[in-house]
């Protein structure tokens, strides 16, 4: 890779040992993926939940945190993805003391680096959304795909180590979605049904993700009949990224780089096309819910809920009583507003539990299942459904109203 004078100084250790490790890591990654040089980034978003870090990752972070202050500090605004617990609710989730202890250690290490502990995967709804053309280094696939596609920002999937490296060097290898030519559509999906509920948007994302197949595919959707809301884009993108490992999509006439379809089609290049209709979305959902008559727990998470979703959950629970656990997971930023506006109290008066700063699947989901006897789960998140199969759950994908009806019905799913 071509290195500037500053990058050579970083490599020589002139900016400290943390930045020296970071640029070496980035060069390894950049060489593998064909980057010719680096691009400056303005923000980083670090995924570092302790289930992923493990003890080895936490000890690695602590070694960096023990460096002198001038050697370990991040150089650009750096925020965090959800953590593995909500300390206020860990006992109710039956999380073990060792999990909470690991969380405290990870937080202390990240704070020592100057990282802002936002603990959110909806920073584009709550912190500082990137703007069109802004190069960033974001972790969490849902964050990346939303910011690339809806905001027009430029990021690859940056896992925790690489997002942290970008934070320490203020740059990232220029490959993938930092390059204009990589942002052209590679497949067109003709959509014959515009979803209504969030779970339907997630199902559409899951279907398109399976069609796309891998990280380097960029689907362009045609036929969406109205401008989706931010929450709808959030669920669609999160599922698309989860099922397909996809980092960028376009919606013709809607997303900023595809005011017209031909703006994202390279001249003279033919791309494959697919049709998706209402029957496909129904079949996708039924493939999960089939043969599940009842569930043990309802979870709204992945992504964290916006304030609007919190209000919807509170309204749907009004005057009712959940007879099985209902976990409603949001960001610390939204939680403050939800508390102030009485939404948290209304959800919890109906038997729900509001959790902040965590995400269900990043919080030792397997151990929580065993400790709480949770085996079957209902959610309106297609992303969560996709992930939890590997953790031993049998998940059902349903709308938020249907999930709440199920919770108030003692877990029995009403056909």
């Amino acid at each position: 890779m071509k290195l500037t004078d500053e990058e050579q100084a970083l490599r020589a250790g002139e900016f400290g040992r943390a930045a020296q490790w970071a640029i070496e890591h980035q060069i390894k990654v950049g060489r593998y993926l064909g980057a010719r040089d680096f691009v400056a980034v303005s923000q980083a978003h670090v995924m570092a939940d302790t289930e992923s870090l493990g003890l080895a990752g936490i000890e690695w972070l602590e070694r960096v945190a023990r460096l002198p202050a001038h050697e370990r500090r991040v150089r650009i605004p750096t925020i965090t993805d959800p953590r593995g617990t909500d300390f206020a609710a860990a006992h109710r989730l039956k999380q073990q003391p060792w999990m909470v202890d690991l969380e405290r250690r990870a937080i202390a290490a990240l704070e020592a680096l100057g990282v802002l502990m936002t603990n959110t995967c909806i920073n584009y709804q709550t912190i500082m959304p990137p703007v069109l053309g802004e190069h960033v280094a974001y972790g969490d696939t849902g964050v990346v795909i939303y910011c690339n596609s809806v905001c027009g920002a430029r990021s690859n999937f940056e896992g925790g180590p690489s997002a942290l490296a970008a934070a320490l060097t203020a740059r990232t290898p220029r490959y993938g979605y930092h390059l204009a030519e990589r942002r052209q559509a590679t497949l067109v999906v003709n959509v014959g049904f515009t979803p209504r509920e969030l779970n339907e948007w997630g199902a559409l994302g899951g279907i398109v993700g399976r069609l796309a197949g891998d990280y380097w595919q960029v689907p362009a959707l045609v036929g969406i009949e109205r401008v989706p809301t931010s929450d709808e884009m959030k669920h669609f993108g999160a599922a698309l990224a989860s099922y397909g490992s996809v980092a960028l999509f376009h919606m013709a006439g809607i997303t900023p780089e595809a005011r017209r379809l031909d703006e994202v089609l390279a001249p003279g290049r033919s791309v494959r096309s697919h049709d998706v209709g209402e029957a496909d979305i129904r079949a996708f959902q039924e493939s999960y819910a089939a043969a599940i008559e009842s569930v043990d727990v309802v979870v709204f998470s992945a992504p964290q809920l916006s304030l609007v979703e919190m209000a919807q959950a509170a309204d749907m629970l009004a005057g009712r009583r959940a007879k099985i656990p209902v976990l409603v997971v949001t960001s610390p930023q939204v939680k403050g507003d939800a508390d102030r506006m009485g939404l948290t109290a209304r959800i919890e008066e109906a038997g729900g539990t509001v959790l902040a700063g965590m995400c269900f699947y990043q919080s030792y989901a397997r151990e929580m299942a065993e400790a709480n006897g949770w085996r079957r789960l209902a959610t309106n998140s297609a992303k969560l459904v996709n992930i939890l199969g590997g953790y031993g759950y049998r998940p059902a994908l349903m709308s938020m109203p249907a999930c709440i009806d199920t919770a108030c019905n003692g877990g029995r799913i009403v056909p």
Partner: protein
């Protein structure tokens, strides 16, 4: 078949050898694995129930989210880890994870590598040279 060699577009980490575990399916540490027991745990994965410990995984494409970037490092530290990953297509997360963990990985073939390597074959993987490769040293263990 023994001795046949297949070149990849890119490689990282040290040399590795072991018994190949092959499937036309994806790979994600969070989505697909029980990392405590060292087995594929996603019920609809083609390797469901199989131990991956010490095996050279020959799979189609990297899938899922960003967690693998940390998890490969964590798995390596505990020794409950594959010997190497050989993939038709990577995503950046796999590359970042292999870089942190100093893990053997090669990817990018002009053909479907999952069709070229017999399941159960003994193989060696060398990502260190100009042309990273996987070589079949014995067709079945």
């Amino acid at each position: 078949m023994s001795g046949e060699i297949f070149f990849a577009a890119a490689g990282m980490g040290p040399k590795a050898r072991g018994q190949a575990l092959v499937a036309k399916d994806g790979f994600s540490a969070r989505y697909d694995l029980d990392r405590v027991r060292g087995v594929f745990s996603r019920s609809d994965h083609k390797l469901a129930g199989e131990s991956y410990v010490g095996r050279v995984l020959v799979l189609d494409a990297a899938k899922g989210g960003v967690a693998t970037a940390w998890m490969l490092h964590e798995m390596t530290a505990r020794g409950i880890v594959p010997a190497a990953l050989v993939l038709n297509a990577v995503n950046p997360i796999m590359v970042q994870g292999a870089a942190l963990a100093d893990f053997c990985m090669i990817s990018g073939f002009d053909f479907d590598i999952t069709q070229a390597i017999p399941n159960g074959a003994l193989v060696e993987v060398d990502p260190t040279g100009e042309q990273p490769f996987i070589r079949v040293t014995r067709s079945s263990a």
